[in-house]
């Protein structure tokens, strides 16, 4: 193996990093010195991105809608029995109790969940929550409603900060966004995954499983 194929010694690498003494060999030291000079020449020759770029960036920023703080969907309910292994029975019971209470609540109020159309067989009820205290209107748009910004509208909660909506979805994979005040399309920051579409728009991903297991 030639010296060139072996590469530099550890001393030479440390010296190139600016730590340690120069390597013993004159040829190796000359090589490292040339490397350091090349890095310096490259660094000095790099054009800088000047202050005028800041002006351009801020002009673009001012034209954007104000960023809105949101929190995403919290949990889901499945309006049917789920068979579980004994070890998981306790956790499942909690889920079913929660599911029952929400369903009961919905029935007592006489509300049909958004998109349910009177009760879709095999659908899973998914509850979305958004924390947007300064919003006037919040809607849910996604691949499940042809990205309509008006068909699924959130209801403002009693504390005025929290918006909720429950949607019946068949098992499948969906992309969605929150639409705040009709103009700001915002991905769910708590979603399990975000997908960038062909236009560079980032959408949140939601997966509804056949047993009511939903992942975002």
């Amino acid at each position: 193996m030639t010296e060139a194929e072996r590469g530099w010694s550890d001393d030479a690498h440390r010296y190139a990093e600016g730590a340690g003494a120069p390597p013993d060999g004159a040829a190796e030291r000359a090589g490292v010195d040339r490397f350091v000079a090349a890095v310096q020449a490259y660094r000095n020759g790099l054009p800088s991105l000047g202050d005028e770029l800041d002006v351009r960036i801020m002009a673009g920023v001012r034209a954007r809608p104000r960023p809105v703080r949101v929190t995403g969907w919290r949990w889901l309910v499945a309006p049917r029995a789920v068979s579980v292994r004994p070890a998981l029975a306790a956790a499942a019971a909690v889920t079913l109790i929660v599911a029952s209470s929400v369903l009961t609540l919905l029935l007592l109020r006489g509300e049909a969940p958004a998109g349910l159309d009177g009760g879709a067989t095999g659908s899973i009820l998914v509850r979305f929550e958004v924390h947007a205290p300064q919003a006037e209107r919040v809607a849910l748009a996604g691949s499940f409603n042809a990205w309509s910004d008006s068909s699924i509208v959130f209801t403002r909660g009693g504390d005025q900060d929290q918006w909720t909506v429950t949607v019946a979805l068949a098992p499948g994979r969906y992309q969605y966004l929150f639409v705040v005040d009709g103009s700001e399309w915002i991905p769910d920051p708590l979603a399990h995954a975000q997908i960038e579409d062909e236009f560079g728009q980032v959408n949140s991903l939601l997966v509804v499983g056949p047993r009511g297991v939903v992942r975002s």
Partner: protein, 183 residues
Amino acid sequence: MAGGLSDGRDDAVIVQRVLRGDVEAFGVLVHRYREAFGRYAVASCGDADVAADAMQEAWIRAYDALATCEHPDRFGAWFFRILRNQCHNHRSRSRTHASLDDVTVPAPTRTDARVEWGELRGLMERALQRLPTEQREAFVLRHVDGRPYAEMAALLGEREDRLRMRVHRAREAVRRELEGHYD
């Protein structure tokens, strides 16, 4: 050496101000991190105009997604990841029409220091273009920006030992490029 990450508490205060509606406060972050990461962007994109576009796009995305920045005290690292993606995207697009042949390196000379300086710069530029992306960005952060490995690990979300290995390999590749030209 490039500017390091700033005091996180200061960044967090600015982020809160922007989220409360003070858009102009965002300019403080823009100035701070455009300066800190400008050299990385130019070296990473291989072209100042491409880097400026990547930087601008990164800031717009950062502003739009500011409410999703879970740790505003680590804004710099959060923004760096957005910038890094934009640099990769813009570099890929611009490379469609560029090739290594675009980098011209003068013939070896020992007679004129200015010519040798330009020669070294051209060699380094060509060597960087030939590096795999991960090695190039590690090399740039370490040798061109002069950042400590701990800071690089925070920016790239990687372990320090892995970054040391990437820089080592990149340095060997640059060494071969230089030796191949002069020897």
